[in-house]
Symmetry: C2
Subunit: 429 residues, 2 copies
């Protein structure tokens, strides 16, 4: 079945901004609260949000095997469970409904009023209920930077790193959508030279520029996913800001890995861009530097050329772009990550989220965290308003953006935007 | 509100074995499939499983604020969300219904036939949908043994260990109930002296004797749970076998912690014993060896005297008890774990599961893993049938049991029993 939704010649009858992340070739999936306080599953074209629950009730998905309430849900999990064939049928159909040549919905004002929303009429929600969240550590530049800073510049990469996509489990309950603010965490910190820790607000709150992919039900307990099948189980991707508290991390992380330094929040962009929509932007990833075990040998273009940016915006001030990176820098691709994750038979379900790890590029302006950009705080970053940052300050907003670029359009992710609030103050009783 | 269900003088009109783990003072909660292929929430007294969905439909919970379908669900999550007051009302009511002095259900044969099942008529399910699973590392003896084996006997505990309950995130999707077999995992292993890893079946599959507690909705993003309130958010406990593959772990775990060495399976006992039922078995835990930060200072008896055993049963052979331990050995208690987990504002929800970490006691026969019992395989364990074990062999069954003991009864957890199958063979297509 071909992905006709990707046809670059297609135009839509909807009025869309020229440089939108969401042309009719994108058709992402998300969940939103409407003006009537109803939660529904939707898509976005230009600056319109489209209620797929309403479209389905009006019969626009006739002929596609969907349950009646598949879009009238507060998460995409069940739709994602329907599998790649169904996602593709739905995405192709949406492209047809909004095609400039198709007047059916265009000329039905009642239907139009029912299914179309402007962005100020909706509130985006977390798109999936995340069953399990795994974070990989798959940028060689990032792993090298961190190893150089904290261990040994001569042996920055640990011995396993070039042989497997190192990863660990994260916390699902603190994954939040864009626009939900986060409090500066408090935690145990060991002051320099001290032997006793203190409980204090983190002084080194950081972002991590990541992307995450969302899976469908992939396997049962015990069954590995072969690398050549891995992409069949990937629904799509989001931008992912894996908030980190570096001073809490340093003290807590041995021997079992980061815990409270990470699980206070991770923020995601609310529209899941499908792997199908990213198809035209495939590229070749870095060549493996070591001979890989066969279960990790991937063939063909398994990397994606997705331009990424991070901006910092102090309260009542302008934005400064502090990093420009690209998803294609990842040493390990998503197929390798999923094959590795399941080689022991670990079950992967609909709505699971897998983060890439911080995506740092080869140059200092492409590093994906303040830890690297300010080199542990030794080289503060200058912002456009004249202020400086080593890490994130109270009331700063971190904005991540990502998009693929073709000649005449871009397929983008929009943004994930999160304000860092001061430490939580319990309400007086 | 008093916990009348714990009244030690109470007797039941049900015929119960003298030494049962499930006297009328226990009243655990679980989920089972009935002879009619219906999933329901239930409890257990002696060797009877009791259908709470049916009891509720028959009006036996009148006066307790419960939705009609609260027990007609395939997980306990919604019931757990109802909170401690409701759990206690329901448990007290169940004790009354089955009290020897109460003839209402006893003398209604139709009702009895509807709600009572023998154990061979049901199939126990996973009791909760686990949102997030956290594993702590809270036995000082276990951490010391592992540190001695793999690092430095003089400095076996890492510097943070005595200051915080060290923990990390685990995988929810591979948590399974008792009686579901597990395949020996394959994974990357670095052979001794080699510089290149191989992909091979783990040769060092191990159990970890743990207990886990299950939480209710406790806090919102950003809000810590004070230690003195922590127990209000604990519904109950289960036995927990945190399967581990030691050779995979050794190679993969730096720097982000265990991943595929653990996430192939964790097995739980299917009946959740409430914290209320464990109330009479409180005891004092080990005295902290370092002055703790105030948020971790717990008052009163926060440990529980729960006797634990692990038995190994080779295929077609008899069981051998290989370890006898006790939950009271835990250096960090559950209140400390929950206060620590949320000090940074990490949200805890209904159905989250928190493992204790391997529960090793002070003597070699009380160690909670084969790694420790056989000291890395250097001292094989002799089984009753004459065979020896360094780690778990194909078709061995691992059985964990746990119970609290009073003068004339025990409050127990039953068992978690899991057979280790050989490596998974994909079906031929």
């Amino acid at each position: 079945m071909s992905i006709t939704a990707n046809d670059p010649k297609r135009k839509t009858w909807l009025d869309t901004p020229k440089d939108t992340d969401f042309p009719i070739q994108n058709i992402p999936f998300g969940v939103f609260l409407t003006r009537d306080d109803i939660i529904t599953i939707g898509t976005r074209i230009g600056d319109y949000a489209i209620d797929l629950g309403a479209l389905h009730q009006l019969g626009y998905f006739e002929g596609i095997p969907l349950t009646d309430d598949i879009f009238l849900q507060d998460t995409l999990n069940d739709f994602i469970s329907d599998g790649k064939k169904t996602w593709r049928l739905v995405r192709n159909r949406i492209a047809d409904i909004f095609d400039a040549e198709n007047s059916k919905l265009k000329e039905n004002k009642d239907h139009r009023n029912t299914v179309l929303f402007t962005l100020d009429e909706i509130e985006m929600q977390l798109p999936v209920q995340v069953g399990d969240y795994t974070d990989f550590y798959s940028s060689k530049e990032h792993a090298t930077n961190v190893g150089t800073m904290f261990r040994d510049p001569e042996n920055a990469l640990l011995p396993n790193w070039l042989h497997m996509p190192v990863g660990y489990h994260g916390r699902s309950s603190s994954i939040i959508p864009s626009d939900i603010p986060v409090h500066r965490p408090i935690g145990q910190i060991l002051p320099k030279g001290a032997s006793q820790p203190v409980l204090a607000p983190s002084k080194r709150v950081d972002f991590e520029l990541e992307m995450a992919f969302i899976t469908t039900d992939a396997n049962v307990l015990g069954e590995p996913i072969p690398i050549e099948e891995a992409e069949d189980y990937i629904f799509g991707m989001v931008l992912f800001n894996d908030w980190s508290a570096r001073d809490i991390q340093t003290w807590e992380y041995v021997p079992l890995g980061p815990f409270l330094a990470k699980n206070f929040a991770s923020s995601v962009s609310p529209w899941i861009v499908t792997l199908d929509a990213l198809e035209p932007f495939r590229t070749t990833g870095p060549k493996p530097e070591k001979e890989l075990l066969p279960y990790l040998q991937s063939k063909g273009k398994k990397a994606f050329d997705i331009k990424l940016e991070v901006a910092l915006k102090p309260e009542n001030s302008e934005e400064t772009t502090v990093s420009k990176s690209n998803f294609k820098y990842m040493y390990w691709n998503m197929s390798q990550q999923l094959a590795h994750h399941t080689v022991n038979g670990c079950p992967v379900n609909s709505g699971d989220m897998m983060g890439s790890g911080t995506i740092s590029g080869p140059t200092p302006d492409s590093y994906g965290s303040m830890l690297e950009l300010s080199w542990k705080g030794e080289k503060p970053i200058k912002l456009n308003d004249g202020s400086e940052r080593k890490f994130i300050e109270d009331n700063d907003t971190v904005i991540m953006r990502g998009y693929c670029e073709a000649k005449d359009r871009r397929i983008g992710f929009g943004e994930v935007r999160t304000k860092l609030l001061p430490v939580f103050e319990p309400k007086k009783k």
